[in-house]
């Protein structure tokens, strides 16, 4: 295969027109030949800057050089020393602002496609039934992990590798957190990728008990005092949706992105033989500009709607990954930027009939450095709609913090921890991921799970 050292080997994708009508994965990933060709672009830098760009410090040149040599199993084992969920990270990490941002190749051309190579090695391992290496001996200590999102799975996997007896408690009927209820099938296949990665964590000896809402069915204090857990990790995420508090918001047809995505992903409402209904909408506005908004918009598109992203700042400020915005545009999502909703119009049956919006312009930069949008007087206009999906961010659920003694939270309801260890203000209880930071990313949640696993190990062996 001919390789241009300045250009990355292109990755095959489903045609935009075709994929906008189905839920199959958008990106096909590399095959062996393509992966080896792309791997050959890696300069194997001595002082590899990409590693420091990775929140879990995967030894990137080491696994890429194994791919170059064709030793895919070894490549996978290198990655799995650092990351418990490589097939997932390879798909959803914002590599452009992490590892790939620091790639030397990127100075004069395209950075090496590290994410796509990670995905390739991980998928290859799944296809060939390669499991990560676990611990031979159990140490007899029990750890409870609350929540089965990336932080909980990572923490559980790392502790199991150290010989701990780990049980994950998950409130929903399926393990995976945002990976199963939030991120759509076309970006992260549930069976082929998420379930397969979770199987690998179970293979390390981790038990998963679904349908247990900690704080309701059992409290953390009871897990420690009655069920004999020596330590607890809280990875309960940031699942509480925000609304705008504008008139008309309780109308039928106004949903949080969490509701829309949960119905479609977790409950598989897009498939006929699943019972959960979804009011897909024919003309849909998604309010917000993050990854979640893109996912909701592209889901609505696939369910047959005309979809508008309504975002109050400009394209440059869109918090979503560049790749997601690009994919959404290719598929036909319409971007109404510098636009902000004022009111949702409701018909007499209580259904959405439209939304009054106002045009915005960018003013002076605010504390975060982003230019804050201000209304353009007199620029109100009405959009005809039957569905409005609110994607304005989420915050941590207070269920756990309000039912656990001695657990400190900050004013945003985020659990307060020591950064180096993940320790909370309650002895033996650790936390990480979105429950601590507020909505962030898969890899940061995994990093926090890793840190806490180390912290718990130190706590229980000191």
């Amino acid at each position: 295969m001919q390789v241009d050292m300045f250009k990355r080997v292109p990755v095959r994708e489903q045609e935009p027109k075709v994929r906008a009508t189905n839920f199959e994965e958008v990106c096909y990933g590399y095959n062996l030949e393509e992966a080896q060709a792309e791997a050959s672009r890696c300069l194997n830098c001595k002082n590899a800057r990409c590693i420091s760009g990775c929140p879990v410090n995967i030894n990137i040149p080491a696994f890429i050089s194994q791919i170059k040599e064709g030793n895919i199993e070894q490549a996978y084992q290198v990655i799995s020393e650092f990351s418990a969920l490589p097939a997932i990270c390879g798909r959803v990490c914002p590599q452009e602002s992490q590892c790939e941002k620091y790639c030397v190749r990127g100075i004069k051309g395209d950075a090496v496609s590290i994410g796509k190579l990670e995905r390739f090695a991980a998928d290859w391992a799944t296809q060939n039934n390669i499991m990560p290496k676990g611990s031979e001996e159990k140490n007899g200590k029990k750890v409870a992990v609350i929540g089965s999102g990336p932080s909980g799975l990572t923490c559980a996997g790392d502790l199991a590798k150290l010989g701990y007896d780990v049980t994950i408690f998950e409130a929903l009927h399926e393990a995976g957190g945002v990976l199963v209820y939030g991120i759509p099938e076309f970006r992260l296949p549930k069976k082929k990728v998420v379930a397969a990665e979770i199987e690998k964590i179970k293979a390390l000896g981790v038990k998963i008990e679904t349908n247990v809402v900690v704080g309701k069915a059992v409290k953390i204090d009871e897990l420690i005092e009655k069920e004999g857990f020596d330590a607890v990790f809280i990875g309960s995420g940031a699942g509480l949706p925000r609304f705008m508090n504008i008139p008309g918001e309780t109308a039928n047809g106004v949903m949080s992105a969490n509701e829309y995505l949960t119905r479609s992903n977790l409950m598989k409402a897009y498939l006929d033989d699943y019972k959960t209904p979804i009011a897909a909408g024919t003309k849909v506005a998604v309010v917000g500009g993050g990854n979640v908004a893109m996912d909701a918009a592209r889901t609505a598109l696939r369910l047959g709607a005309e979809v508008h992203i309504v975002y109050r700042r400009s394209e440059e400020e869109l918090p979503a990954r560049v790749e997601e915005v690009h994919h959404a545009k290719e598929e036909g999502v319409i971007f109404d930027l510098l636009t902000n909703p004022k009111e949702i119009l409701v018909d007499e049956d209580g259904n959405v009939s439209g939304m009054v919006c106002i045009k915005m312009e960018l003013g002076e930069p605010d504390e975060s450095g982003r230019r804050s949008p201000v209304e353009v007087p007199g620029s109100e206009f009405t959009m005809d709609l039957d569905t409005v999906i609110m994607s304005l961010g989420t915050s941590p659920n207070p269920l756990i913090s309000s039912t656990t003694t001695g657990l400190e939270v900050n004013k945003r309801k985020c659990i307060v921890v020591q950064e180096e260890t993940g320790a909370t203000t309650k002895a033996g209880v650790y936390a990480g991921g979105d429950a601590v930071t507020g909505a962030a990313t898969v890899i940061l949640a995994m990093g926090a799970g890793k840190t806490a696993a180390k912290g718990i190990h130190e706590y229980l062996t000191k």
């Binding site: 059992v218 409950m267 019972k275 659920n397």
Partner: protein
């Protein structure tokens, strides 16, 4: 799997089941609910807990056949089970937090509408077990939908049965019965707990407001997760948006926006109607539900 160990048909369309669910049975209190899912492809259905046995580790649910999923549910038999059964969800009834002295001072009237009798039962029973007996009105359209009357009599002070068509007990609806008790019989109540179809809770609350009696209702909006994650269950109480699954399901009946709640319940009505028709294939479709839209 969460196994069904008892099943009873309480009326033409109302069923009762005891389900083995150790964690729920160990921790639940009156007023709380569970979410059940029949199988891999099923939807998550919220149901109020109707009774529980901490020793046998079972939870009792009662449901009315109203939609496709409840039809599939009634086809389950003893020995079958639910793939998923999660709870307890929501807040326990406020009564659980009151001291004995406070309770003794109170005259409480429960108003149960149709299948709403099921969630009323554990509250009355809980009070009874704590040495306090309440009055209960059980109301329904007609005699054949009156459920749990005998059970209720064992734990309540007085049980008043009323039917809209007069086929059994007092002729009239719950509101007429309240008027009869308070107006004609001179009974005094400090608290009314009304559970049933939204329309019935609405009119009960309007009446008790006039009568100046504090009123608690139990709302059953559309839900998905039941843990505060989606907002499908939101409703307006005293001008503020609340999530019924975590802030409720019980609210002050004098503050709930019932009209808004009824509109939201209709959200999936047509879709569900179509699903039922598909399931019954050509059978003359007769919606026998109380019209509340919920499965409670």
């Amino acid at each position: 799997m969460y196994k069904i160990v008892r099943k009873e048909q309480l009326s033409e369309k109302i069923y009762l089941m005891d389900v083995v669910a150790p964690r729920v049975a160990a921790s639940c209190l009156p007023g709380q609910f569970v979410i059940v899912k029949i199988d891999d492809k099923g939807e998550r259905i919220p149901l109020t807990i109707c009774d529980y046995d901490r020793e046998k580790e079972t939870v009792t649910i009662v449901f009315q056949e109203v939609g496709e999923s409840t039809i599939l549910m009634k086809n389950l038999e003893v020995g079958d089970g639910f793939e998923d059964f999660v709870g307890p969800l929501g807040c326990e009834s406020e009564l659980c937090h009151e001291s004995k002295e406070e309770l003794e001072k109170k005259n409480i009237l429960f108003v149960a509408g149709g299948v709403g009798t099921a969630p009323v039962y554990p509250q009355v029973k809980w009070l009874h077990e704590n040495g306090y007996d309440a009055d209960v009105i059980i109301g329904a359209r007609s005699k054949d939908i009156i459920i749990l009357e005998e059970e209720m009599k064992k734990v309540a002070k007085n049980v008043y049965v009323c039917t809209d068509d007069g086929s059994y007990g007092f002729k009239g609806n719950g509101c007429d019965m309240i008027k009869e008790l308070v107006g004609n019989q001179g009974k005094k109540y400090d608290l009314v707990v009304a559970i049933g179809p939204v329309i019935m809770m609405k009119f009960t609350s309007l009446l008790t407001k006039e009568l100046g009696i504090k009123t608690v209702v139990s709302m059953n909006p559309i839900m998905v997760d039941g843990t505060g994650m989606c907002g499908a269950c939101r409703l307006v109480v005293g001008g503020e948006v609340k999530f019924a699954c975590v802030d409720g399901p019980e609210f002050d009946g004098h503050l709930v926006d019932f009209d808004g709640a009824m509109k939201r319940q209709r959200m999936y009505k047509t879709q569900e109607g179509r699903a039922i028709l598909a399931l019954e294939e050509g059978d003359t479709h007769k919606n026998g539900g109380c019209g509340c839209g919920g499965d409670k």
